[in-house]
Amino acid sequence: MSITELLQRCELFARLTPEQIERIAALGQGVVYNAGEVVIREGEPSDEMYVIRSGMVEVLVSRGVIPDVPGPPQLTPLVSLGQGQFFGEMALVDRGARSATVRCVRDGTVLYVIPRQAFWALCDSDHHIGYIVMRNIASDLSFKLRHRNIQVKLAGGEP
């Protein structure tokens, strides 16, 4: 699957024309990760967004971290994401630090990495792209929140 085909099948870029998707495809590059590799780490600065071309990642958050106590934080898995999904999009919206850690689950997981600055420059030069993508990000965040709400209900209210 080419990068353009991948992005056409990604909800984030739904309703964009093939020409607009080509322009986005030209911004980033593919990176290969192996199982266990951390792609982004909670609390670190954020400069990129990722689209999963193949493989699987898991999203984890730290819980019960006690300041000044040595050792790695305990990570709780939130969700796993497969082909066509994306993560790191919150950085595009709020420029805040990473809200979760994302770790690869499968060897040879291929991620398409889109730099925030280049993407914003494209959105500034073409407001239609910016409008559509921001609407799609809102839709995806809503989907993930609904998924999470069901998870919490199944767990009896324990987040």
Binding site: E11, A14, L78, S80, G82, G84, K144
Partner: protein, 67 residues
């Protein structure tokens, strides 16, 4: 149509999975979620379809736990 599917597993703490599929899952299908084999128990529309995307929620039960 691309099917964006949210999977959850009942009866066991499980993080769930979100993935895009070319065909909709059906009740009785078996699906591998991480290390665990699960069976689809229910498929519902999570939100109405839009353009080329359908948004489904799938509830699964565990068939085989991870070793």
């Amino acid at each position: 149509m691309i099917y964006k599917v949210s999977y959850v597993v009942v009866g066991k703490p499980h993080m769930g999975t979100i993935v895009n599929l070319d065909a909709p899952p059906r009740v009785g299908d078996q699906v591998q979620l991480g290390d665990e084999l699960c069976e689809v128990a229910e498929v519902v529309d999570l939100i109405p379809p839009s353009e080329d995307f359908a948004y489904l929620h799938v509830t699964c039960r565990l068939v085989q736990e991870a070793a």
